[in-house]
Symmetry: C2
Subunit: 490 residues, 2 copies
């Protein structure tokens, strides 16, 4: 065989995303943690990426399988449809039920959460495997593939997990189990396995918990810059078909703060059909979003990452970036306020409450102050003049406000504010595309709608709010991706 | 005597502010409602201006007296020092104690609140009195003054009152009493008095309560545009010596979000002495502000009016203006949240609580997430990454947070947010001066400091936050001023 050609320096993403497929939703709780199956990708060394933020630690890792793993829902309804017996995904024909921190059942059973296994490097020895590069010509690629051993058949899944930063030990325990189990499955000693594993750590906790991870897991831990990882993750994930979605202009128009209209959960249509409704009707409107099915790189853009707090990052055409702004009124603010003002104990409960609420009982609208529109300034009577403005009664009369109304009001307040600050930065830097990332949105209709509406309102329709199904994993995906690049340079 | 010269068309303010004097503070509650004595001004027709916002109705009216009214505090300590027996300010040698809506004692005694009396127009007949114009030459002016009857000696006070919009009937009752009393004092029938009085109404309530005012008071009611009045009020009031104040750069530097440093009430020094403190010390720092003693017109500028909600208005050099932005996260939001989260029942109580609080127990700071500064991005470890970010505990542990800490956190959150949005607009329109108006600030140290600091932080010291002692009365002052201009044109 001829010499392996030297590889181009890694500026482009080295992961073969051809045919990438977002796996089915396990449950509504794992809405944003669906695995991504990459049929053409081979990972030579096992990497785990961890992004530890103020509230949540997000984990990404890759496991092998020649075919997409079967989801439990498919297994339950149709039976197992794929052969999952290749090395790398043994017992778990179904990948195990991923959980979110709000499901206590899996909290103390790390084994239940481990999807497949990592591949130890020792099995790579003697095989110069090159992960699929779109630029290689097809025949050469086919030749390489024939040389590859069964361990290196391309194909496997990116897996996603979340843990609470406050219980970081659970995350450590999970990783310990993943590594040990991978050693078992591959039949190698734990020491060999550990040499093959690298943890790419980003987020604030990469600094805060560096010692913990190093000492507990006995593997190499590399710290990666949070902003770099966010941007790398964005660039990568936005290329996956059906990853990016947005509300169409017609939909945004029909999403308003009209009081007493119950807000229904959107029907997510795969083929991008948009419902258009001019005014509230007795038949409650269903909203749909448009998915980006054939994505192309979308730079320059603005990335608004909403976690406990908010970071706003501008990205140039060539991928260079700068954190230009942020706000401390983020997810942590909303969750904190609602945890004291409502009986809700999880963010999903809070979002459920908000869906049933009417903000006009707690918000002061333009119409409440003016008795009408303030049309001279383009302010409609239904617009919010003062969030929570009806709550304070100086005469001391205690009025009881419902948890639903309070939740909706504060969700709107926080979302509108983020949308406004995001818009102002997009305008300042002349950017039309605004991506929203972070664990705040969770595909929730009212949040997506409010952010979309805010951007449309302030930009008069010239800018677009874009959302990501794996919104919370940008940093961890980016940390994982960055290592692939490093790998190439070695 | 020669003919009275024709008057220039009213573009400039027709009120003679030479020698204007802000009267002593009656009590801390009336901090922003101090009368303004104008020794050279004569008002030919009595006007009352009312600015009715979402929460508060602000009233301005002018009453005659040749000398500044005595304040009760001066009378108590030194005895009556001025002769207040001229027509126009009879019995009340002291102007009567103005009250804020939080003092229930005066709520049902409108007589106690009426300062002096309005002047009926009927007493003007035959005298072509021209209110002092700075452009007239001195000798001619002196001649005019000799001709003037005792009713028209220049000199009198602008009086300020506040009512809750929710109890607008109390405002109506007050005005009724003012008009009736003025008729009595001047010895004219009530019908004549009513012909002399015009109510200039602005704010949202001008529309909402137009019928109420007209039918109850039997006087002419004119509605004036809210934004126009705000700007007129700003242009006028910023010319009064010692009206405008700001934190010096050194002071802003020492105002930080350092946890556990109790924030003391600033000592307001009349002669503008600034204390400079480099770091927190065992001797708690006292903050001082600089007063604008010799003000000059300060256009162009940005006006940020913080009431229940926030309006942001840009003003050009020539005084033309445009409402360019706003936010629904305003005073109403803070008061509403704190009324549910703390035992406080008034805004002053809420501000008191915040002075004693430590926001670091409820806010997530940069240091909490990173364990250190995020110096690469210029984020100090003491900066707030997520407001209220420590409150939500997913494991359901209920931690009790103190009312003081909650109050400080939310005051910072709302103030910082307003400062950030204000800054972004100032930058967009290339304006260096940012005036803060509205009833939110109330001269409160932490609020003034936070807004000053936010502007300084975001602008890297290139822009300045400016405050007004009569911050809540911009709209009502403007409505009053606009009528003077109209008067001239007749």
């Amino acid at each position: 065989m001829s010499t392996i050609p030297s590889l181009p320096t890694a500026k482009s993403i080295q992961v073969d995303t051809r045919g990438a497929l977002i796996l089915d939703e396990e449950s509504p709780e794992t809405r944003d943690s669906r695995g991504i199956y990459l049929p053409n990708y081979v990972e030579p060394v096992s990497h785990i990426a961890v992004d530890i933020g103020g509230s949540l630690a997000k984990v990404v890792y890759f496991t092998r399988s020649p075919e997409p793993p079967t989801s439990p829902s498919i297994a339950a309804t149709k039976g197992s449809s794929a052969n999952n017996s290749s090395v790398g995904t043994p017992e778990s024909a179904s990948p195990g039920t991923p959980t979110t921190p709000s499901s206590p059942s899996h909290r103390h059973d790390p084994l239940a959460r481990v999807n497949g296994a990592l591949t130890p490097a020792v099995l790579d020895n003697g095989n110069n495997v090159i992960s699929g590069l779109p630029s290689l010509d097809t025949s050469f690629r086919d030749t390489l593939l024939r040389r590859v051993s069964v361990h290196h058949l391309p194909g496997g899944s990116l897996n996603f997990e979340r843990f609470e930063t406050e219980h970081i030990d659970e995350c450590v325990e999970f990783l310990q189990t993943l590594i040990e189990r991978s050693a078992q499955i591959n039949g190698v000693p734990i020491e060999e396995m550990r040499k093959s594993v690298k943890i790419m750590a980003t987020g604030g906790g990469a600094h805060r918990f560096y010692e913990l991870f190093s000492s507990q897991l006995h593997v190499e831990v590399r710290r990666e810059d949070e902003m770099e990882c966010l941007i790398e993750g964005l660039k990568f994930i936005s290329l996956i078909p059906d990853e990016v979605y947005y509300f169409s202009d017609e939909l945004i128009h029909s999403v308003s703060h009209t009081p007493a209209i119950p807000f229904k959960t959107p029907t997510m249509l795969q083929n991008g059909v948009n419902g258009v409704y001019e005014r509230p009707s007795p038949d409650p409107p269903r909203y749909a979003v448009t998915f980006e099915q054939n994505p192309t790189p979308q730079l320059p853009c603005l990335l608004v990452n909403i976690g406990s707090g908010v970071s706003i990052i501008r990205v140039d055409e060539n991928g260079s970036f700068e954190r230009v702004s942020g706000t401390s009124l983020g997810g942590g603010t909303l969750w904190g306020l609602l945890s004291l003002l409502t009986p809700a104990t999880s963010f999903d409960e809070m979002l459920d409450l908000s869906e049933k609420g009417d903000n006009a009982t707690v918000d002061m609208l333009v119409g409440d102050i003016y008795g009408q529109d303030y049309s001279r300034l383009g302010l409609k009577s239904t617009m919010i003049a003062s969030s929570f403005g009806k709550v304070f009664k100086k005469d001391g009369k205690k009025v009881k406000f419902s948890a639903e109304d309070i939740s909706k009001s504060l969700l709107y307040a926080v979302s509108n504010n983020i949308g406004q600050i995001a818009y102002m930065n997009a305008e300042k830097y002349n950017l039309d595309r605004i991506y929203f990332g972070g664990c705040f949105i969770r595909g929730h209709a009212a949040t997506v709608g409010t952010l979309s509406y805010a951007i449309r309102f302030w930009s008069k329709g010239t800018k677009r709010a874009l959302f990501l199904r794996h919104e919370g994993f940008l940093g961890s995906i980016g940390a994982w991706i960055k290592n692939i690049g490093e790998e190439r340079a070695e």
